[in-house]
């Protein structure tokens, strides 16, 4: 990996790592007596380990000019592996906390092992660890192909990937230590948030610099979505995390917003993290890998445009549907509901465009589990966007809010859509970039597919049942006009569904382990081959072929 960096880039890497190590040291010193010191130490240690790594390869020969004839895919390779590792961690922890709701004693009186600390490890692990790494990895891959341009340099993609994973590590370890802002999906504290801003600026600059050098006159639709993902997540992240640390020697900060304004800002963030992290980015993935794998052009250019701008405009209004019947002024609730209902149009435009793209390739969907992953993902995307619009209606929300129905809805989207489109894309991209005819085992891809489908269905049905039962029990009145059930009654009624959910989630997590194994074995197979026959430099065939949809 270091041999791919030019001498100048190696020096730059050392300079940046030195700066990061010093920053880590400064945090550790300023934060002595506070848990911040642990994170300062962690930052410093990570930087020092990487410095050794760079130094060990420092005198390797420089990469030759022939690299400009090739795309730069090593960061994508690393990102794919990291995504799969985070998938196993995030989903594993998720299933563990699901079991905690069945066997609450399993915290063994350890602070770090309690539900409240582990749950954000699960959510951040899957959203940021798994989803984020997959987005970064695939975006580099797609960006180069659809622009017919190589990434601008060799250093910045690594900075983004490694820097981003440092953020994920700070987040996950922080929760276990008790460092959190409590804002859902924005839990990391001020210093981690600042670091992510730096990483994100570099990420965006890679995108822009590559697009500037593109050989294709048009920017392909997948890139619109990836760009919206990068830009809007930056806006959301910066605004929602505005906070005042109690001192530079403490991990703790106080949000700039309070009460009702904070609630609106948080759910504007929270809902658009769903929109621009978990939807836009993955639609970018879908718009490239699905047509590629199916060997069909995107069905409609116009549907692509309408879907994209509809999503970009409307989602940002929808966040207040998380706050129906609360102390948030009613006009904001009504606006949020209106836009949420209208959102079904651009969402279904995107889903329909993808499914119609598959027209004429249904035999491939039947035979190819990778394509089937993507097809099913689109179906779940359509279902969960419909469900989302439905749940945003005030009357429905009065039943569903605060219940497991919400959890089921999120997982219909997160498992059914986000994870499946990612697994499909990863199974498509891994053989391409490792130059293999196919994955190590197609049978294992098939097994993973069925485990995922079964797991998602069990999960979602369990949560529908428990959520609706819960909601109904809370609002049922007895003949005498008093509430019929105590809270504990509803809690007891949940138990069988919590067991079912944990089993469904377990299926899904086992699938991810199989996926990681399969990716790993494909890589081993590739490196065994390379050991036998050294790779001749080739201009990727894909670069010359026109992209899908054009």
């Amino acid at each position: 990996m270091i041999s791919e960096l030019t001498r100048g880039e190696r020096r730059l890497a050392l300079a940046v790592l030195t700066a990061v190590a010093i920053l880590g040291l400064a945090l550790a010193v300023a934060g002595r007596g506070d848990i911040l010191a642990v994170h300062g130490g962690l930052i410093m240690a990570s930087a020092v380990v990487l410095m050794f790594f760079v130094i060990s390869g420092y005198y390797a020969p420089e990469p030759g000019e022939e690299r400009f004839a090739q795309y730069y895919d090593t960061p994508t390779k690393a990102g794919v592996v990291l995504a799969m590792i985070w998938a196993v961690i995030g989903m594993g922890v998720g299933d563990w906390v699901a079991w905690l709701l069945v066997y609450p004693e399993m915290t063994f009186d350890a602070a770090w092992a309690s539900f409240g600390r582990l749950r954000p490890v699960h959510t951040s692990g899957v959203i940021f660890g798994f989803g984020g790494n997959a987005l970064i990895a695939t975006s580099f891959h797609v960006l180069q192909r659809t622009s017919r341009a190589r990434l601008p340099d060799q250093f910045s993609p690594w900075f983004v990937l490694i820097g981003y994973n440092l953020f994920c590590l700070l987040a996950a370890s922080g929760y276990l230590l008790g460092i959190t802002q409590s804002k859902e999906y924005a839990e990391p504290e001020w210093y981690a948030d600042l670091w992510l801003v730096v990483v994100w600026v570099v990420y965006f600059s890679i995108y822009l610099r590559t697009l500037m050098r593109r050989q294709e006159p048009h920017i392909y639709v997948a890139n619109w979505y990836y760009m919206a993902f990068i830009l809007v997540v930056a806006i959301l992240h910066i605004v929602n995390n505005l906070a005042v640390p109690i001192s530079f020697g403490s991990a703790k900060s106080y949000s700039a917003f309070a009460g009702v304004q904070d609630a609106m800002t948080q759910w504007w963030y929270g809902h658009n993290a769903v929109a621009f992290f978990l939807t836009a980015g993955f639609l970018g993935m879908m718009y490239y890998y699905l047509p590629k794998r199916a060997g069909r052009p995107v069905f409609s250019y116009r549907m692509g445009i309408l879907g994209f701008w509809g999503i970009t405009f409307m989602y940002m209004w929808a966040g207040s549907h998380h706050l129906h019947y609360t102390a948030l002024p009613q006009w904001v609730q009504t606006l949020g509901m209106t836009f949420s209902v209208m959102l079904i149009v651009p969402s279904w435009l995107a889903a329909a465009n993808a499914l119609l793209t598959l027209n004429g390739a249904w035999d491939k969907v039947r035979d190819d589990a990778t394509l089937r992953f993507m097809m099913l993902a689109v179906v779940f995307y359509g279902l969960s966007t419909f469900e989302g619009s439905f749940m945003s209606i005030r009357a429905v929300n009065s039943l569903s809010h605060y219940t497991d129905w919400t959890v089921g809805h999120v997982h219909a989207g997160a498992l059914g859509w986000v994870a499946l489109i990612t697994f499909g894309s990863i199974y498509a991209v891994v053989p391409w970039i490792w130059k293999q005819p196919s994955m190590y085992s197609n049978k294992l891809v098939e097994a993973h597919f069925w485990l995922s489908l079964a797991g998602t269905l069990i999960y979602v049905f369990a949560m529908w049942n428990s959520g609706i039962i819960q909601g109904l029990m809370w609002r049922t009145y007895s003949e005498g006009g008093t509430l019929a059930y105590s809270f504990i009654d509803s809690l007891v009624a949940m138990r069988p569904y919590y067991i079912a959910r944990a089993i469904g989630g377990g299926f899904f997590a086992v699938g991810a382990v199989i996926g990681l194994y399969n990716v790993w074995m494909t890589i081993r197979q590739a490196s065994a081959e390379r050991a036998e026959a050294p790779d001749a430099p080739v201009v990727p065939a894909l670069a010359r072929s026109l992209q899908a949809g054009e």
Binding site: G116, L208, V232, Y301, W317, A327, H401, Y402
Partner: protein
């Protein structure tokens, strides 16, 4: 229209600007007015501030992720109000940086749990919920009763909150650590200052049942006991509108 888009697609900077503009409108239209429209947050002149001990307890509540299972937002629905009490007003969380309204009720809403149970009940419940509620699936927090509360940085906590708009006085900031001790040690010389600074309605008790120690349990129980008790406004509001809105 599609013709214009064809041009836009050829211009990276233009596309970036278009995304920023189109996506910014919604949030701006919904969030900015909340800061400027006066009626968004009701008046409640009797609204008290969290004491330093309650601030510390709130931070433990955040640290342990209690918000993942508990909401603090009673909706204007009849069954919510009958189960948990008068619906929550915006003013009640106006000093909450950040708010803890929550999104999921794996456990019951806590917005009005203050005063509902005795301190001893809370301590027993937090040590092992199943000792008091056999069906409970809430985790136990036994170590809170053993862990001494960190008070040396409480002044910084109040000062930071003042920066974001909570009206703590210089005196409150200067005495934060002493007030934390005083509130949990009613017999100590520090106790009098707490009510002088934070009002007579402030609870001054050995919350964890150990009058000689200041633990994290003291702080968390002090916080739970003040939930819904910072102002009388919601109780008056309900009386005047006769129950909840439909």
């Amino acid at each position: 229209m599609f013709g214009i888009h064809q041009k836009l697609e050829r211009n990276a900077i233009g596309f970036v600007i278009a995304i920023i503009v189109v996506s910014s409108i919604g949030g701006f239209m919904e969030i900015a007015p909340l800061f400027t429209i006066h009626e968004t947050v009701e008046e409640a002149p009797d609204m008290r501030l969290y004491t330093p001990l309650e601030v510390a307890g709130r931070n433990i509540y955040i640290r342990e992720g209690c918000y993942a299972c508990h909401s603090q937002m009673i909706r204007t629905l009849r069954d919510d109000v009958e189960r948990y009490g008068p619906y929550s007003l915006a003013v009640e969380s106006k000093y909450d940086h950040p708010m803890l309204w929550g999104s999921k009720r794996t456990g019951p809403d806590l917005a009005r749990v203050g005063g509902k149970y005795s301190d001893a009940w809370h301590v027993a419940h937090l040590i092992n919920p199943r000792d008091v509620v056999p069906e409970s699936i809430m985790p136990g927090y036994r170590w809170l009763a053993e862990t001494p509360l960190k008070v040396d940085d409480l002044s910084l906590h109040l000062a930071a909150q003042r920066k974001v708009g909570v009206p703590y006085t210089d005196e409150m900031i200067a005495n934060a650590a002493a007030d934390a001790y005083g509130q949990a040690m009613p017999d100590s010389p520090f106790a009098a200052g707490v009510t002088a600074r934070y009002g007579d309605a402030t609870n001054v008790r050995a919350f964890d049942g150990q009058p000689d120690r200041l633990t994290e349990m003291d702080a968390l129980v002090a916080y739970l006991q003040v939930l819904g008790r910072l102002t009388d406004a919601p109780y008056q509001q309900t009386a005047s509108t006769e129950g909840a809105k439909p």
